[in-house]
């Protein structure tokens, strides 16, 4: 029941926002819809906490410890982003970069995007998972090109084509998965239900599943933003509106990784080897290295943090590939804290670039004096994202590193190198932006403070103390993902 509410609220909000258009109250309705989604997400989480995994709607929906924390996270970040977007988009309209019609489109598509992501997390059917993933891409393509500048259209086209191809390969992987499942479970929709597949995964034909995993890895990996199929990500993040960059980085990448890990569980059950884990470790470590060295050459502030997202998704993918209780626990925590920190950083980056009317880092200066909250928000956010204690990213990276040293010591130097380079690159870039005197062309603006404070508080809290219910979920998920 709560499940249905959770899915229907964003759909209704999307339709309502498409219908009422860019009236005075549209941003508030957007916030209200997301808040309602968040509340039902929390209610669902409480139910899962009390009763354990829920199967509903003729086995069509399935929520367990792994998906429920991501559901709450998705609902939370989409709510705070909606709050941020109210002030941010108002400012954009004052600057004349966007008109009424496009703002209507923006709001409606934002809610549709949330719906698609929640459907990914809640569905039990691997086929529907693919469809919802594609829907999430499609609903954001035209948001990336919202400003209709040549660069924005180019970025959106790249995003559309690359992710379209990637996701098509993932569909081929899903077809192969169904092909293997059909022999064991018989034809029909039930053969694609994840819960059924997980039960019989040791009977599925290993040759087919290993081949399927290659396609799924490349397909969903494109959406996770793993090197070498990451090219769309920095472009889409830098050219789209900042609220969209925040949800792409904070949520969509996580969801794609979620899909990949779900499939990995089935493949591992069938093959009984660590083969798929090795592939994920390889993709992960290459992403970490390439992204961290790319950080050094960036000039655009949003591209900088887009590359940082590639690096962090690489870390999570690597940790899931490594497997074992510590690394998996670290990866789950990392998805959570990266999402919160990165979207908070994008909020401050959005305001910073509005204050200077540019995304070039050389021209952004004196943020702390100009607007203390934006300045400190960015400074603290960057400290958190590079893995400084006492923030949550430190905990997750520490866990992953410990597990790496213990189980794959040969990989540890590469991991450390990547972390070190990105630390240096981000600090070198961010320090001149937050410090120094206020440049004459800097404009004053009313920033959306609440989202940044909320996110950073949670990240800090998670670094100091991990609540019992969360670690309980993570441990259940660790057992599930083995």
């Amino acid at each position: 029941m709560t499940l249905l509410v959770l899915l229907i609220v964003p759909l209704i909000a999307s339709l309502a926002l498409a219908f009422i258009g860019d009236r005075k109250l549209a941003p508030e309705i957007n916030i209200l819809g997301s808040a309602a989604t968040f509340v039902s997400g929390v209610v669902l989480a409480l139910q899962v906490y009390e009763q354990g995994p829920i199967l509903a709607g003729n086995n069509f929906f399935f929520v367990d410890a792994f998906s429920v924390y991501l559901t709450v996270l998705t609902a939370f970040v989409s709510m705070t982003t909606a709050i941020f977007s109210r002030r941010y988009m108002r400012r954009e309209r004052e600057h004349g970069t966007i008109g009424h019609r496009r703002l209507r489109f923006y709001h409606a598509m934002y809610q549709l995007f949330i719906f698609a992501m929640l459907l990914c997390l809640l569905t039990n059917n691997v086929g529907i998972l693919w469809i919802a993933m594609e829907l999430a891409t499609l609903s954001t393509v035209l948001l990336v090109s919202l400003y209709r500048t040549p660069a924005a259209i180019e970025a959106a086209w790249k995003y559309f084509i690359l992710c379209g191809v990637g996701i098509a390969l993932a569909l081929f992987g899903t077809v192969l998965l169904y092909f293997a499942a059909e022999k064991v479970l018989g034809a029909g929709g039930a053969a694609l239900h994840w819960t059924n597949l997980a039960q019989v995964s040791d009977q599925l034909e290993p040759t087919i599943l290993s081949l399927a995993f290659v396609f799924l890895m490349v397909g969903y990996g494109t959406k996770v933003g793993l090197v070498p199929i990451h090219n769309w990500l920095p472009d889409a993040h830098s050219e789209g509106p900042t609220p969209i960059s925040a949800v792409l980085s904070g949520l969509l990448l996580n969801i794609a990784l979620y899909a990949l890990v779900r499939c990995k569980v089935l493949v591992d059950g069938s093959t009984g080897t660590h083969h798929s884990g090795d592939i994920m470790m390889g993709f992960g470590i290459i992403s970490i290295l390439v992204a961290s060295f790319s950080l050094l050459r960036q000039k655009d502030i949003k591209r900088l943090f887009a590359y940082s997202s590639i690096e962090h998704m690489g870390i999570a993918t690597f940790a899931f590939g490594l497997g074992g209780p510590v690394a998996t626990f670290g990866a789950l925590l990392h998805m959570l804290v990266h999402s919160l920190t990165k979207s908070s950083i994008f909020f401050t980056v959005g305001h910073a670039s509005q204050m200077h009317r540019t995304q070039e880092m050389e021209k952004i200066k004196g943020l702390i004096r100009g607007n203390p909250l934006v300045g400190w928000g960015l400074a603290l956010g960057v400290m958190a994202i590079v893995g400084m204690p006492p923030f949550g990213v430190f905990t997750s990276e520490f866990l992953i590193l410990t597990a790496t040293i213990k189980e794959a010591p040969l990989m540890a130097p590469f991991l450390l190198l990547g972390l070190g380079v990105s630390f240096a690159a981000l600090f070198r870039r961010v320090q001149p932006m937050v410090g120094g005197a206020v440049p004459p062309y800097q404009e004053r603006l009313k920033a959306a403070n609440l989202p940044v404070i909320m996110h950073m508080a949670v990240v800090l809290l998670l670094g100091l103390y991990l609540p019992e219910f969360l670690s309980g979920w993570f441990q259940t998920a660790v057992v599930l993902l083995k």
Binding site: S145, A151, I153, A155, I161, Y178, A187, L192, R297
Partner: protein, 221 residues
């Protein structure tokens, strides 16, 4: 219909689909491309219907009708309208010359057969030998997207890939579950709407649909 004859017909259809896939890769004229694409969709629909008839999987009739209406009628019609409206008739420049592209295509086909060899031995369906052709069609669509620099041809390549995927679903199994097929069709419809919008945006912003002009977003050294 005898199963044996059905499998013969299906192999013939698979060969024809592969032929159209090669045609798409090498054809330069826009209208001919659209015709080839529509033919490919038609062959796919017929093949789906035959598999459905032989296997007694009646869901496949719906899938076949969906393919017929989307890939043979609707999408070519939309693309044709766009081509007329945006005045694109001229030959499409390819990055690599045609003989080389052909050779690359042949290598991809051999690769597909090699990749699917273990799976073909496992399948008990009459249609199993066509799985390699399906994968080859996907790969050729992919090749087309890489070697062409025109937005419309890239989209046709993308749709040809989708054809290959549907063909894989019907040849490896008796089609995906109906709810998945419907969802895929819905996504395709939305994608069609989006690339329609895109063609207008690209042609008004860049004065042509040549994607080579889109080279602003690069890493500077």
């Amino acid at each position: 219909m005898d199963t044996h004859i059905a499998s013969q017909i299906n192999s013939l259809l698979a060969a024809l689909i592969l032929l159209t896939a090669f045609g798409l890769v090498v054809q330069r004229r826009m209208n001919a491309l659209l015709h080839l694409f529509a033919w490919q969709g038609f062959l796919l629909a017929v093949s789906t219907a035959i598999v459905g008839y032989v296997g007694g999987a009646h869901d496949l009739y719906i899938s076949s009708i969906l393919t017929l209406s989307m890939k043979v009628v609707l999408l070519p019609y939309i693309l044709h309208k766009l081509i007329v409206k945006l005045k694109i008739h001229k030959e499409v420049e390819t990055v690599v010359n045609i003989p080389t592209t052909m050779l690359m295509g042949i290598i991809l086909v051999i690769f597909s057969y090699h990749l699917t060899a273990p799976i073909r031995e496992l399948s008990t369906l009459v249609t199993r030998s066509t799985l390699a052709v399906a994968l080859a069609t996907v790969m050729l669509g992919f090749l087309m997207m890489i070697t062409r620099k025109h937005a419309v041809t890239q989209i046709i390549g993308f749709l040809a890939m989708e054809n290959g995927l549907l063909f894989a679903a019907t040849s490896a199994t008796y089609g995906m579950p109906l709810v998945v097929e419907l969802g895929v069709a819905l996504d395709l419809l939305i994608a069609a709407f989006i690339f329609g919008m895109f063609f207008f945006h690209i042609s008004t912003t860049f004065d042509s649909l040549d994607v080579d002009q889109m080279a602003r977003l690069k890493e500077e050294d």
